[in-house]
Subunit: 534 residues, 2 copies
């Protein structure tokens, strides 16, 4: 019976599927999540108050008038924002989630790499601590000050430098906003090889500094492969330039790799050279219901095999994630009226709509016949594409809508991926902390979703209120669980401030020592992004 439901769906929708959609413009189809839809409306507590045992490092000089005078010598008035001069620096001091708030009194907004170099050289000589800041869309407090560090905003380094339409290599300033870079590329038939919710605010340089993953990693791979060159201001003010982007260059250690994911701790990225793929002209989205976790894995294997080169996203969601999204999207009908333990959203992107439609239809029919899929819906047209995507995209916001959310971004071997969510739910229930209906319990539920193809689980614990009991139930339990499965406690969000004390769950003492050695080697005065990373 279920099989017939899907087959009918595809048959009916088959005609509409053949409409050509000329442009793969994700920004049109899915709302860009930026600062304005943040999860909290109150100002964040000062990080220094939240963590009273954390003390300002006395090695750092306190900002003086002579420092301001120096910066006035190299920057124009508009490029210097000072607290107490009618300027509100909250946007620079607070993170996007409003979990962390620093106390910086000075924001510098240089317009050139030379200005960045002059600033950093001076700060290094004077022992002034600096936080490099891109779009400030990070989720681990990595891009805001903790105490009185100077904020170095890259927002005004925002020009495309060069684009080669033959090779697809884009060279741009670090402060170019992702959506702008992608729009520029779209006009030229190319695509930025990475996409994520914050595309309307986040910077290309910030993406590289945090080694962002996002939605296209399954298809286009990690930034370690697609970034071809970087321009980086080192802590001593020297400029490391490998912007002569070549796809292949085997002359010595690939130095730029260290800066990809370094979170602003050993250099300030000012320019990026990146290889961009041709923009697909055809895309499809389908939404599937599955009866257990084993099916998710089986459908993934089948999708990789049969959709192969056109598979562009394979997102998975558990029942709780759809329950929470449903509470938030009241009045919007879920793709399926019945309940299922797991759901999968598959997106294809290719160069020939008819071929892609046929591949997807054959894949879906086979999956139904083999009993892998319990129900399915195939989008016809942009409205339906948007409707299906929202059941994946709304989960983060919905998770916080009952009061708050504890968020964990982890990597786990695929076979173990959902067992963490089950374990957390069992633990919270056993401790009498969780109930989806009973409003007297602090926790609504734990839910899981994420980029299945990348082994990247987003575990959200939706709460009605933050309590010490819930926190004690979750931590270090979650980190210990991830470590026991040889996973990573940060798949794509980075360490930042939030996770700096937990790295030992993912890295050995030897690796931590090697990481600290590199930090010390490049930034002996530790002026860059202090109190974070390791």
């Amino acid at each position: 019976m279920l099989a017939r439901t899907l087959l009918k769906t595809t048959a009916v929708r088959g005609i509409a599927l053949r409409c050509r959609s000329a442009v793969w413009a994700r920004s049109v189809l899915r709302p860009s999540v930026g600062r304005t839809c943040g999860y909290a409306t109150h100002a964040a507590h000062l990080t220094a108050d939240t963590y009273p045992t954390l003390v300002r490092d006395a090695r750092y000089k306190k900002l003086g008038e002579e420092d301001i005078a120096f910066f006035r010598g190299i920057l124009s008035e508009q490029e210097i924002l000072q607290a107490g001069e009618g300027e509100d620096l909250a946007l620079y001091n607070e993170d996007w989630m409003r979990k962390y708030r620093g106390q910086s009194k000075l924001v510098l907004r240089p317009k050139s790499t030379q200005q960045v170099a002059a600033i950093i050289r001076y700060c290094n000589e004077q022992r002034l601590a600096v936080v490099p800041q891109g779009g400030n869309t990070g989720l681990v407090g990595g891009s805001v000050p903790v105490f009185d560090e100077i904020v170095l905003s890259l927002a005004q380094l925002n020009k495309v430098r060069d684009f080669d339409p033959v090779s697809g290599i884009l060279k741009c300033d670090a402060g170019v906003i992702l959506e702008n870079a992608d729009s520029y590329l779209m006009e030229r038939g190319y695509l930025f090889p990475l996409d994520l919710g914050a595309k309307g605010s986040c910077h290309v340089g910030g993406l590289v500094a945090t080694n962002a993953g996002g939605l296209r990693l399954l298809r286009y791979g990690s930034l370690h492969g697609s970034v071809l060159g970087l321009e980086v201001v080192l802590p001593n003010g020297e400029v490391l330039n490998s912007m002569d982007a070549l796809r292949k260059d085997n002359t010595g250690f690939d130095l730029k790799q260290l800066f990809i994911g370094s979170e602003g701790t050993i250099g300030v990225i000012t320019g990026v050279s990146i290889l961009c793929p041709p923009r697909p002209t055809a895309f499809n989205v389908c939404f599937l219901a599955l009866e257990n976790y084993a099916r998710v894995q089986e459908v993934f294997i089948k999708a990789k095999k049969e959709l192969g080169e056109i598979l562009s996203a394979f997102e998975f969601m558990d029942f709780n994630s759809q329950y929470i999204a449903g509470q938030h999207l009241k009045g919007v009908a879920h793709p399926f009226s019945e309940k299922y333990p797991f759901y999968v959203l598959i997106e294809t992107a290719g160069s020939n709509k008819e071929h892609d439609d046929l591949k997807l239809e054959q894949f879906l029919e086979g999956a139904m016949e083999e009993g892998l899929v319990s129900d399915g819906a195939l989008a016809q047209g942009e409205t339906e594409v948007r409707n299906l995507w929202q059941w994946r995209e709304m989960i983060p916001e919905a998770s916080a809508s009952e009061g708050g959310v504890y968020k964990y971004d982890v990597s786990l071997p695929l076979k173990d991926m959902h067992s963490l969510v089950d374990a957390v739910n069992e633990r919270l229930t056993a401790q009498n902390l969780s109930d989806t209906e009973d409003a007297s319990k602090p926790v609504v539920c734990a839910l899981g979703y994420g980029h299945f193809g990348d082994g990247n689980l987003h575990l959200n614990v939706a709460v009605r209120e933050y309590t010490k009991q819930v926190e004690a139930a979750l931590e270090p339990f979650v980190y210990e669980f991830v470590a026991s499965k040889h996973g990573s406690i940060s798949a794509e969000h980075g360490l930042g401030f939030q996770k700096k004390n937990y790295i030992s769950y993912s890295k050995s003492p030897q690796e931590i020592k090697m990481i600290k050695d590199i930090k010390h080697h490049y930034d002996p005065n530790a002026i860059l992004n202090p109190y974070k990373y390791v």
Copy 2:
């Protein structure tokens, strides 16, 4: 008229094209080039004789009986090869091209990572220099000793450790031969994301140590993106282990990246974790003739756009390369009877033969109608696929068949790629050194071919004899030309021994200093692969 030739070809061959080829088995279709078909049959001169100004570094201890005794304590008799004990160490002392020959008296062939660690720890303590060696198929003398360094062969670390059919992640010892790894994956529906001529001999660990590129880079990207984890024995004997391969892990600097392309200078790779894509089930090959270099670029743009996700190779060849291959393949008819200045071989690999055939046919018809292509041939069946590929694959061997060859492997911006070949030919002609017909001239011609999609040109100068005049005409001219275009003097072959003195053409003094800093940091006693790299 030309247009009709191609259209007829495709129409006639269209039927055969639709035959399904079940397996993409390159090893069947293209002969694997291994040591046995080396370009030279004489034994190489001792490197120490060829470079008389190069002196053995007196810091290194000379091998003594007590050292042999130590190694006998950790290795079995079969794992120790000593010169003068009835053992011929030529295979380990000489490179594949027979350009370099070291004088090692000892080859160690450990079977476990622990044995490698014990060896390296001891050598570090005793200041014994060591050359890690994989399949010894490198082209720059990086894997053979220069003086009396101990050869540490990874050939017996040759087990697949684990494969996850859901994620496609392969974990294996460094000494697994590429072809064996790929056969293992083929049986499971997966593909090693890299292919090259030496696949029958080269090791997975060696590929990573040299950051090899090869034929699939256009489609599957660089090893910096696909290698997920490494096991590396550091110069102090510690084992760095990041084999818990996760597709995403943002917890600290990505340490493994430094070892990708480090050519055995800061650690010995003993294990590799790599992400493998599903194996395509359909493939096509076509061979095109083009009237000028601008057309090559235009056809590339069109192929990327229209073949997009199924494009798996875009190899280009100039007229001279086909002339030289024709001399070598006497009696074999070239795909085209007329002569053209440029040729392109395009390969597609996808999951649906009918779709791929149609895409390729439409692409070819369009290219003909637009006048981009002067003539074309489309392979029908495996024999024709092999026949077309041989006109690309035979070039290296053919280049040396008149007596010898000077080989350069460079990266250049696409627009400048062939101008190097033109410049070299003009220079050799102007100096009266070159003539394809006149056997009294030392040079036959310079020719260019390579992985166009990667900006990787192989410049070969086919010679009748090696002379100092020719060498003086070529070097440093070639390196200066590449530097003037901001290219790389080593795209994929690495620096090794051959290019260590030329790195300054591709890297700034600051970058070279940073590279040396890293070498010194990890290997303060410089025991690993001395006299090479930088």
